[in-house]
């Protein structure tokens, strides 16, 4: 039942309403908060964990932002439900493996989620599609202030919000952006970028895999320090790094198109062919194909609405989602078959890519594309 409302509801990740950005898929703000005079969850005894959950769960669930949302104790969730929530970035892996008395509240639009008894008593998270740090911070800030009216936070005027891990103390804020960087990966520049960015105290991680082998060319860029700067300063610094990375990605794209367009067209064309005809697809191959098609959308080789199909793919091709779509528990082999069948259907009506960089022949968006839209939705 929970799973159905997650699937049927609109999600910020799979169909963000805002105009999508070519490089930044989504932005996220996460705030770590703890109640005063109670040990942190990892050290708290069962009665204390229980009390934290019983205090926080109703406080969070009654927030305006959580109207008609989902409230659940982790123990009540099945393994598949937990996996799906992790795949949607709505709960962390740590919470899904929490020993007992952990909980989560998720807003109806799946943009706000609050985890209880994770590493800290409260983890407030706001996800926005595209490049929207300010909006994400503003709404996390409002949720936080409203909760603070009711809950007593552990806070020191000297070192800020007190967190279980000293690396989060201060603002307790982790701001991150999910970036799609196919050209930097294709031209082997990712390692260089990671090294440069690390030096600025900003972390880069492959979202589906590690380092430069990240499948799907999707990376998460986040601040590594939380003390000594205000939230706005952290976001400003992270944003300037992000802008540099976007510029580098755009330069790399131009260079590839200048030097060897056929190599790129070949990759994108093959991806399209595989998605329409394959009969076995692993989730990591799927991420790489989705990445190439998204690159094609940025180059206007596919219609803009194909972007939504692809962004959904990044989420729905993960094992938990495939399992749910299949409606039963299936092994890896069956999953690969099911996944390819599902994608053949999704790409059946996606028009052939336009292989030219001449502006006059670029795809005319909307008019044609809309008429072929009559799929189930």
């Amino acid at each position: 039942m929970l799973i159905e409302s997650i699937f049927d509801g609109k999600s910020e990740m799979t169909e963000g309403s805002a105009k999508k950005c070519p490089v930044v898929l989504m932005t996220r703000i996460r705030l770590a908060r703890n109640l005063s005079e109670t040990p942190f969850p990892g050290w708290a005894k069962l009665p204390q964990r229980t009390q934290v959950l019983e205090t926080c769960l109703p406080a969070v669930a009654s927030l305006n932002q959580m109207k008609r949302g989902i409230t659940a104790e982790v123990e009540e969730l099945s393994d598949l439900e937990k996996q799906i929530l992790v795949e949607r970035h709505l709960i962390s892996r740590e919470l899904s493996g929490a020993p007992e008395k952990a909980g989560v509240v998720i807003s109806k639009d799946q943009s706000v989620s609050v985890m209880i008894n994770e590493e800290d008593h409260l983890r407030i998270q706001v996800i926005k599609s595209g490049y929207r740090f300010k909006q994400a911070w503003n709404s996390a800030n409002v949720v936080d202030s409203t909760l603070e009216d009711e809950l007593d936070y552990a806070f020191s005027s000297r070192i800020g919000f007190l967190t279980a891990c000293p690396t989060n103390v201060g603002t307790g804020m982790r701001a991150s952006a999910m970036m799609h960087l196919p050209a930097l990966v294709i031209s082997n520049q990712m390692e260089k970028v990671v090294r440069a960015v690390n030096q600025l105290g900003i972390a880069v991680r492959g979202l589906f895999g590690e380092g430069s082998d990240a499948s799907g060319s999707i990376f998460q860029i986040s601040n590594q320090t939380t003390l000594g700067e205000s939230e706005e300063e952290i976001i400003k610094r992270l944003s300037s790094v992000l802008k540099t990375i976007i510029d580098q990605e755009m330069n790399a794209r131009e260079k590839i198109l200048e030097k060897d367009p056929n190599k790129l067209f070949d990759k994108i064309g093959r991806a399209y062919g595989i998605l329409q005809n394959s009969h076995l697809l692993s989730s990591s191959e799927c991420m790489n194909l989705a990445s190439l098609v998204r690159f094609g959308v940025d180059l206007e080789m596919f219609s803009e609405e194909t972007r939504n199909t692809v962004d959904r793919m990044f989420i729905e091709c993960q094992p938990g989602h495939i399992q749910h779509l299949a409606g039963k528990s299936i092994d890896t082999n069956e999953r690969d078959a099911f996944r390819s069948e599902y994608l053949r259907k999704q790409f059946e009506n996606v028009e052939r890519p336009v292989f030219t960089m001449d502006n006059s022949e670029k795809r005319e968006d909307s008019s044609e594309a809309d008429s072929s839209k009559g799929e189930k939705e």
């Binding site: 996460r30 703890n34 005063s36 005079e37 040990p39 942190f40 990892g42 050290w43 992790v86 970035h89 962390s92 892996r93 740590e94 590493e119 983890r123 998270q125 800030n141 936080d144 603070e148 009216d149 007593d152 936070y153 552990a154 806070f155 020191s156 005027s157 000297r158 070192i159 800020g160 919000f161 007190l162 279980a164 891990c165 000293p166 690396t167 989060n168 103390v169 201060g170 603002t171 804020m173 991150s176 090294r195 690390n198 030096q199 105290g201 972390a203 991680r205 979202l207 590690e210 380092g211 998460q220 986040s222 590594q224 320090t225 939380t226 003390l227 000594g228 700067e229 205000s230 939230e231």
Partner: protein
């Protein structure tokens, strides 16, 4: 290809390699899939630098200092050994237990040792209330011990007033 690295936490071969440069210090860690997962490193939400900093045998200087000084938290009973194992603290008072040593370690992992961000109004209000209350209460006790009953009565009235004001504020 270089020969496969071993996981830093167990003997499996390492598939996850992380390098971080913070304050010109390089921290490297190699982990197998399952250790990486259990440390939250494969999870975009759960990752934390402390996991790297307390890597056995390669602790940063600040951390080692902290570990040596940190015996046991009087408030929650958290021990040095636990901290070394998890890289996490037991309760908010553990930050006081660390004392000045923590602040040097914090400055090393962050961009300063002073909070410059959001201030939760209620926590601050409550803190100043508690500070004033505990001062008055100890004054009261002292006055009683010294049998200065007039003074004691004054402190008692002040305490009652403070509590009443707080209550009025809460129900307002």
């Amino acid at each position: 290809m270089a020969k496969p690295l071993k996981c830093d936490l167990c003997d499996e071969s390492a598939t996850v390699h992380l390098t971080q440069i913070l304050n010109n210090q390089i921290h490297k860690i190699d982990l197998c899939e399952s250790c990486a997962e259990s440390k939250g490193i494969t999870d975009p939400n759960g990752y934390s630098l402390a996991d790297l900093l307390v890597k056995p045998g390669e602790e940063s200087e600040g951390m080692t200092e902290v570990l040596d000084s940190f015996e046991e938290c009087p408030e929650c009973g958290y021990t040095q050994k636990e901290f070394k194992k998890t890289g996490r603290l037991g309760c908010e008072h553990c930050y006081e237990t660390f004392g000045p040593l923590l602040s040097s370690a914090l400055a090393g992992m962050h961009r300063g040792d002073k909070h410059k961000g959001k201030v939760p109004e209620r926590a601050v209000e409550r803190k100043s209330f508690e500070d004033r209350l505990s001062t008055l209460e100890s004054d009261l006790e002292e006055a009683i011990q010294k049998e200065h009953y007039e003074e004691a009565a004054r402190y008692r009235d002040q305490i009652l007033e403070l509590k009443k004001a707080k209550k009025a504020e809460e129900t307002a």
